[in-house]
């Protein structure tokens, strides 16, 4: 097999975005400007300028991280993100927890997709998502083997050499002993394989639901058609929309409720999804292991614009996060943008009078 170097892969697909996440996020930010219930303490800036002011954020797309093992690719990335951030980017992608074959598979499939992982379950950036991805690959390997064995059996059944029996039907063919042994073996092995997988699954369930440690931060996420209201609880609480900023390395408790219909909160790189259901409060724990921007999207059909109900989780270094949080909690200062809006609003009022 002739595998192309990974950095060539990256440029292969027509869809592989130049600015991918940055672009999406900017769109998101723009959308928030129109979002209802916008709270006072909020400030909105373009992602580039924000990044420039917050050099601690290692802004990168997961796509480039997984597929860019060499200098050449870092140059690629150079063009994508502001200079101020570049020196802080990790120069080499870190080792994955799962098997190297998984890497190959991901790379191979990237041939088709152009770019994997803007919000990918196969691109984990937290312990929880790591566990889920590892479990997924284990299941895939075991069940893929089962599929291969079954297909091999079928192929052999069709092609094996037969004695000179004619085509006439046999109403009562003798039941052969080897076939009975094969049957027993099949029954036993499938029971063993399934039990093994079930035990692995229970183990995985323990890991993702079982963490009882106190969370450093509690955030309420309230689903609306079709946006996310984010409320930082506690003293000096504040609200944002469609964006959650969290500190890297500490568990964050997310309380999920909905204001209207059922939604589902899903940031694949950080955790599995959990529904937001009327009359019920679900709790999800996320913890990013690295700084970065992680996209998510409502995963339960929630009406007309379900497709556009995206959310971004920005994981910041703890001190950056604290600075941002303090900014948010402080009384609102009129920014250039807000001033402009005020002028615009008064112009509207005047014209309507």
């Amino acid at each position: 097999m002739d595998f192309r170097p990974a950095h060539e892969m990256q440029n292969f697909g027509v869809d592989c975005p130049r600015r991918s996440l940055a672009h999406l996020w900017r769109e998101n930010t723009a959308k928030q400007k129109n979002a209802p219930n916008k709270t006072q303490g909020e400030e909105r800036r373009d992602v580039e300028s924000w990044l420039a002011e917050n050099p601690g954020v290692a802004f990168k797309t997961h796509c480039s991280a997984s597929l860019a093992p060499d200098e050449h690719n870092n140059n690629e990335r150079d063009r994508r993100v502001p200079d101020a951030v570049f020196p802080l980017l990790p120069s080499r992608p870190e080792k994955r927890v799962w098997a190297p074959s998984a890497d190959l598979l991901l790379t191979g499939s990237s041939l088709l997709s152009g770019c994997a992982g803007v919000q990918s379950a196969l691109d984990p950036h937290s312990e929880q998502a790591d566990t889920l991805a590892a479990l997924f690959w284990t299941f895939t390997a075991v069940l893929g083997l089962v599929w291969l064995v079954t297909m091999a059996g079928l192929l052999l059944a069709l092609t094996r050499r037969r004695d000179g029996r004619g085509e006439s039907a046999e109403a009562r063919p003798a039941v052969k002993r080897p076939m009975l042994i094969a049957f027993a073996a099949m029954l036993a092995s499938s029971a063993i394989v399934l039990s093994g997988l079930a035990v692995l699954s229970f183990g995985g369930q323990r890991t993702i639901f079982g963490s009882g440690a106190g969370a450093a931060l509690t955030i309420s996420v309230i689903g609306h058609q079709w946006w996310w209201q984010v409320r930082y609880e506690g003293e000096n609480g504040f609200e944002t929309a469609n964006e959650i900023r969290i500190p890297v390395g500490s568990p964050v408790e997310i309380k999920l409720t909905t204001a209207d219909v059922i939604h589902s909160f899903w940031i694949p790189s950080l955790a599995g999804k959990l529904d937001l259901i009327p009359g019920k409060r679900n709790e999800l724990r996320i913890e990013a292991s690295k700084p970065g921007v992680y996209r998510g999207q409502c995963a339960e059909f929630c009406g007309q614009q379900h497709a556009h109900m995206a959310i971004f989780v920005v994981a910041l270094e703890p001190h950056e996060f604290e600075r941002w949080r303090a900014d948010q909690a402080a009384p609102a200062k009129p920014t250039a943008y807000l001033r402009k809006q005020r002028v615009f609003t008064s112009a509207l009022l005047e014209s309507s009078q």
Binding site: G117, Q205, E300, F301, A307
Partner: protein, 637 residues
């Protein structure tokens, strides 16, 4: 007519020679012409074909919707159809495929084939059978008529509340959807009752429980699943309509209701529904594998036990559709175990079929080729189902394209490929002509490649984070390439059905005559002429083996003593199939059609006013009285 009046009731089949018996029976059991005659028929074969044709039309309609969706998704940020229309399209696609194609098409084959396979002259409760068809037809017409008139449900085939509540979806769409459920479920329940009674009480003498063809066993289990599963969804959809029409608050959390109640009721039906759709597929596979391997399916007893196990287990899995609603950990784990457990009886079935092919001498005709496609696709879909059974994995894959890929592998691989095989296999039974083999092989190539190209990439899309039911996606997500590939595959897959349609049309006109038993198969439906006479069998066969046509040869013993000029059946005992009594089978009647029509009017009216039920019920009751009005014939001897 030669027989005198007094003798009419006396003529028995033993009194007549073969030619005259056939002519007389065919007159007794035949369907009269004219519009009234067509609407009055109670012949299970005629109704079975109507069911099948209607279901195929809905399959094509659902397929067209799928193609429009695939064209929309082929490119990112596409504006081919807007959000509103797209949501209507996937709702109608799912609803049509599940309720108007998936369930009825299995019933169609059961209605046509089960009475033939058990060696009887008509299905049990034939008028109910006619009624069920019209109810199904009216339900489908209502949903699609509403669609044409822009009354379009757009909240998914699962209609989750509160999205489907009046507050969030004010139009009449969800009401049409919910009422359509009532229609198709009434039809499905009726058919299930008929199949169960036919199988248990009308088997040919000598067809003991262990000589019932696996096809018939499968349809029996299938019918029991319907009877236990469907009431849940009828209840749920009625509660939804009541919430919407008369402000009951079953699903309103603010008023003490519970949106999760809907999900429990819906999936308590919804998961068995998967098996309701899939089991007919296994029935086809069992029949075809046996015929083309030239021997009965290996392991009759394990096969039957697996079917029954699937029937029971299918009711213990529904919560795996709700793993991300925030369930208690242990509760969810239970459903992981039960969902994985059902892989065992399914594995037993797969093993037995492959063992049959191994031991036998497979003849690679079109039906068997499609069955081989079934193995390839269905096994993959079943195994990805094991992944979804795991709670942790499901939290990542739930409601993504991974699930879309999974259930299309299971349902298309498990049902549609065997269904196409079944069409090729039983087409000569129905028409007396063979379908074109060569076109069949081209169709397979197109379907197999098209299907895998369309649906395999969806696994990857799901893992790369693409949720279901999104009408578009930004180019930056990088999903464009795989989606384009999937759309291209979908076009090929759709084309394969057009090719089949073409093959069916030309073969029905000018295909080579098949003879009565073109595949040298072993089950009783091939013991009669192709196409069968209205009476199915001139003389009811007496069964002495599980493969009667292979072990008994031409000199099959027969049962004699049935009246010729009246519709008479042999009723046998449940386990041993000993002849019990002769029972009269109902004659054609227009009342079932009228009753179905009145029921449809009442149901549709109830979407607009609850009073429609009040006014409609007496009308339906009067029609039912007319339907059941006792005839002045003398009691059977």
């Amino acid at each position: 007519m030669s027989p005198v009046i007094e003798e009419r009731h006396e003529t028995r089949d033993s009194d007549l020679g073969d030619e005259e018996l056939r002519a007389r029976l065919s007159k007794t059991w035949g369907t009269t012409g004219g519009l009234i005659g067509v609407l009055s028929t109670v012949d299970h074969k005629v109704i079975g074909i109507r069911y099948a044709v209607t279901a195929f039309i809905f399959l094509l309609a659902g397929g067209v919707l799928a193609i429009i969706m695939r064209l929309q998704l082929a490119r990112p940020d596409s504006h081919l159809v807007g959000a509103e229309l797209y949501n209507q399209l996937f709702t109608m696609h799912g609803t049509t495929m599940m309720f108007l194609f998936g369930v009825p098409v299995g019933e169609a084959f059961a209605i046509y084939l089960v009475p033939l396979m058990v060696g009887t002259r008509n299905i049990a409760f034939p008028r109910l059978n006619a009624f069920s068809y019209y109810v199904y037809l009216f339900g489908g017409l209502m949903l699609w008529g509403g669609f044409a008139l822009s009354i379009r449900p757009d909240v998914g085939w699962f209609s989750y509340v509160p999205l489907a509540n009046l507050d969030f979806t004010p139009g009449k769409g969800p009401d049409y959807w919910a009422q359509m459920i009532t229609f198709t479920e009434v039809a499905a329940l009726a058919v299930s009752v008929e199949i169960i009674v036919t199988v248990l009480k009308q088997r040919a003498p000598g067809m003991t429980l262990d000589r019932i063809p696996l096809f018939v066993w499968t349809m029996l289990v299938h019918s029991f699943i319907i009877i236990f599963a469907m009431p849940a969804v009828m209840l749920a959809s009625s509660m939804l309509i009541m919430d919407r029409l008369v402000s009951t608050q079953f699903f309103n959390a603010d008023a003490g209701g519970d949106p999760l109640l809907w999900q429990h009721l819906f999936w308590f039906f919804g998961h068995p529904e998967v098996y309701i759709i899939f089991l007919p597929g296994t029935a086809f596979v069992s029949a075809i594998v046996a015929t083309f391997s030239r021997r009965p399916v290996f392991g009759y007893l394990p096969m039957v036990l697996s079917l029954i196990a699937i029937g029971f287990l299918s009711f213990g899995l529904w919560v795996h559709h709700m793993f991300v609603t925030g369930l208690p950990e242990v509760g969810a784990a239970f459903f992981t175990a039960s969902s994985m457990a059902i892989a065992i009886p399914n594995g037993v079935q797969i093993f037995c079929w492959i063992a049959t092919l191994w031991d036998g001498k497979p003849v690679l005709k079109a039906p068997l080729i499609f069955v081989l496609g079934f193995f390839f696709i269905f096994v993959a879909g079943g195994l990805s189902g094991v992944m979804l059974a795991s709670v942790p994995i499901d939290t990542q894959t739930h409601d993504t394209y991974f699930v879309v890929a999974h259930f299309h592998y299971v349902l298309i691989g498990g049902t549609v490929f065997p269904l196409v095989a079944a069409v090729y296999y039983w087409f000569p039974k129905v028409t007396g002509r063979l379908m074109d083999e060569q076109i069949g092989k081209w169709q397979f190539a197109l379907a197999f490649i098209g299907f895998n190209t369309a649906f395999f990439p969806m696994h990857l899309l799901g893992l790369y984070g693409m949720p279901r039911r999104v009408y578009t996606y930004p180019a930056e997500m990088g999903w464009g390439g795989l989606n384009l590939l999937a759309s291209a595959g979908a076009l090929f897959f759709f084309a394969s059905f057009l090719l089949m349609l073409y093959n069916m049309v030309i073969s029905a006109r000018s295909g080579p005559p098949s003879g009565d038993n073109p595949w040298d198969a072993d089950t009783l439906e091939w013991a009669t002429s192709s196409p069968p006479q209205p009476q199915n069998f001139d003389r009811i066969p007496f069964v002495t083996s599980g493969s009667p046509l292979w072990s008994q040869g031409d000199d099959t013993p027969v049962v004699s003593g049935l009246k010729v000029d009246e519709r008479e059946l042999v009723v046998t005992s449940i386990t041993e199939a000993r002849p019990d009594i002769r029972e009269e089978s109902p004659a054609p009647s227009i009342w079932p059609f009228l009753a179905a029509f009145a029921t449809a009017v009442a149901f549709i009216g109830s979407i607009y006013t609850p009073w429609a039920i009040t006014w409609g019920s007496p009308v339906v009751a009067i029609l039912l009285v007319a339907w059941f009005w006792p005839k002045t014939t003398e009691e059977n001897a």
